[in-house]
C-alpha cells in the first residue's frame, strides 16, 4: 500500500474517490492528479504538503467544488459535488465552505468589519445575526480593536486574520486554506496556523490546509504528503 489510513472515521466530512485530473497545454498533457482517494474527518487540521507542482492546489480546488475532476467524485458532507449543477455547487459553497487564500483578497474600500459582513449578507441572515457573527469572528481572530480599519492600514498578518474571520463568520463545516502563511513572516505564520487549528478544535470544523512550509507540520493533526498527483504518506498524529 502506498499509504496507510490509520484513522477510520465513521463519518468523514470530505471523501475523494479515484480523482484524476489532467491539464493539456498545446500537445502536452500532464496528469496532475492520478487516481487519488482520501477521506478527511471533522474537527481536525489536515495539512497537505509536498513539492511545488505536485497537485496540492488542484486537489484543494476539486475538493472544494471550484473545479471538476476528469474522473472520480467528491463527497462533501455526504453529498456528491459532481451530481450538482453549477448553481447548486455555488449554494453549497455559500452555506458550508470557507476559504483562505495566499493573497488576502480584501476589498480596499471596506473596513475589516464590512469585509466580514459582506458574504453574510448573501446568506439571508438577519441584520442582528450578521453583526453578531461578524463581531464574534473578528474577536476570535483578535481583530476586534482593528475592525474599523481598511486593508491599507493593516499589516499582512492582520489582513490574513480578517480574511480568516470572513471565512469563519459563515460558520462553515469545511474550511479550505491554500498557502495561508506563505505571504507572512514566521511569527505571523505561526499565529495564523494556530488560529486555523483552534477553529478546527473549537468549532468542529474540517480544516484542510495546503502548504509546503515544513514549520507548519508540527501544528497539524494529520499530514498528507503528496508527490506527482498521489498521496505518498499519511501521518495521523491522533492528536484529536
Amino acid at each position: 500500500m502506498p499509504y496507510s489510513n490509520t484513522v477510520i472515521d465513521p463519518n468523514p466530512m470530505l471523501v475523494a474517490e479515484n480523482l484524476t485530473k489532467s491539464f493539456t497545454s498545446g500537445q502536452l498533457s500532464t496528469r496532475v492528479l492520478d487516481d487519488l482517494s482520501v477521506e478527511i474527518g471533522a474537527g481536525a487540521l489536515t495539512l497537505i504538503s509536498g513539492p511545488s507542482g505536485c497537485g496540492k492546489s488542484t486537489l484543494l480546488s476539486i475538493l472544494s467544488g471550484l473545479q471538476a475532476p476528469d474522473h472520480g467524485r467528491v463527497l462533501a458532507l455526504s453529498e456528491s459535488l459532481q451530481a450538482m449543477d453549477a448553481k447548486r455547487v455555488e449554494a453549497f459553497r455559500l452555506h458550508h465552505t470557507g476559504f483562505v487564500f495566499q493573497g488576502f483578497n480584501l476589498f480596499p474600500a471596506l473596513t475589516a468589519r464590512e469585509q466580514v459582513q459582506l458574504p453574510l449578507q448573501y446568506m439571508r441572515l438577519s441584520a442582528q445575526e450578521i453583526t453578531r457573527r461578524a463581531d464574534e469572528a473578528l474577536a476570535e481572530m483578535g481583530m476586534a480593536h482593528r475592525q474599523h480599519l481598511r486593508p491599507a492600514a493593516l499589516s499582512g498578518g492582520e489582513k490574513q486574520r480578517v480574511a480568516i474571520a470572513r471565512a469563519l463568520a459563515k460558520a462553515p463545516a469545511l474550511l479550505f486554506a491554500d498557502e495561508p502563511t506563505s505571504a507572512l513572516d514566521a511569527a505571523n505564520g505561526q499565529i495564523v496556523i494556530d488560529l486555523l487549528h483552534r477553529i478546527a478544535r473549537n468549532h468542529g470544523t474540517t480544516v484542510l490546509c495546503v502548504s509546503h512550509d515544513p514549520r507548519l507540520i508540527s501544528h497539524a493533526d494529520r499530514v498528507l504528503t503528496m508527490e506527482d498527483g498521489r498521496i505518498l504518506d499519511d501521518s495521523d498524529r491522533g492528536a484529536r
Binding site: 492546489s57 488542484t58 455559500l94 465552505t97 493573497g103 480596499p108 474600500a109 459582506l118 458574504p119
Partner: protein, 378 residues
Amino acid sequence: MMVSLARKTLLHEWRRFLPAMLAVSFATLLQLLQAALVLGIFGGAAVYVSDSNADLWVGYPGTQSVDQGRPIDGDIASLLEMNPQIESVEPFYLLDGDWRGGHGTGGVSVFVSGVSTRPGAMMFARVLTPALRARLAYPESVIVDPADLNKLGVQVGDTASVNGHLVRVVGTARGLRALGGADIVTSLQTARMLDPAPSDSGGPTYLVARLRHPAAASSVVADINGHSGFGRYQAWTAPAFARLSVLFWLFNTGAGAGVLFLAVIVFVVGAIITSQALMAAVAASVNEYATLNALGVGKRSLRWVVLEQAFWVGACGVVLASVLAALLIWLAHSNNVPVAMQPSVAAACLGLVMALVAVSGLMAMRSMQRADPATLLR
C-alpha cells in the same frame, strides 16, 4: 447598515470611476446643449405662434410650417365667431418682402407680419408692449428685432423700403428673429399695402382665436375642422402648430438627421468610455470578487454590483452635467444666442444618457466572467 460594495468602492476609489463619470457628464452636456441649440434655432420657425397668446390657429389646409401659409377666405372669421367656445378672432397677414435699407446693405428678404393694433391683440402679445403696438397704428410704421438692425442697415427712426413702398422703423422688440431673413411687424393695413400681389379675396394668411376655456382647445379644433362649406381651411391648437413648424424645419433642412447622427456618436463613444472604466474597476478587484464567489456569492449578485456602480456613475454624471448645462444655456440666452429647452426634451436627453449607462453596465458585467475562484488556487 447593509454594506453596499458598489457604493463603498465608488466612494473609496472615486478616481478610478472619474473618467466614466466625466464621460457620462460630457455625453449629457453635449446632448442637452445640442437640443437647446436646435430648439432655439428652429424655434425661430414658430416665433409667430410662440410670441402670441392665441389658443387656436386657422390657415390654409395642409400648411406644413407657419411661414408657408397662403391666404384664406376672410369669411371664415364669421364661422369662428359663431362658435360659442371662441372669445375673439383676429386676422394675421404674413407675406414676403424685399427690404432696402440705407447704407448699402443691398436687398434683404424679410417676413412682413401684419397684426392688429387694438389693445389686447393676440399676435406678438408676448413681445410687443401696448405702447409699441399703438405706434404701429400710424401708417407705414414697422417694428424690428434690435439684433436685426445691422442686417437691415437702419436705426430706429430711419426709413427704408419694402417691396418698393416706404416704411419707417418706429421701435424694436426682442424675440422677433426668424429663421433666415428678418421679421418686421406692421399693422394689418400697412401689410396689405406692402403686398406685391394681393390675392383676389384679400384674405388674411391666418385667423387666430382666443378661447373661453383654453383647456378645450383640442375639442374646438376637432369641431371646427369637422365643418365644411365655408371654404378651405384647417385649424390647429397653437402648441401643435408650433411643433409642426419646428419639425418641418428640423427635417426639411437636414438638421434633424445631423442631430440624430451626433446623438448616436455621443451615445456610442460615451458607452465605450464608460464601460471601459467600469471594466477596469472590476479588473482591479477581480481577485476579491473571485474570493466572494469562492465563498458562494453568486456570479449574478456580483454582476449586480457592476450594474449598481454604473447606475451611480451615471447619476452623478447626469447631475453634474445638468447643472453645467443649465448654467451654459442661461449664459447663452443672456448673450442673444438662440437656445431653448423643454422639460420633455431634457427628459429625453437624460433618458438617452441613462440608456447609455445601462448599456455600459451590461457590457462591463461580462468582465465579471474573469472572476474565477479556481485561479486563486495555484
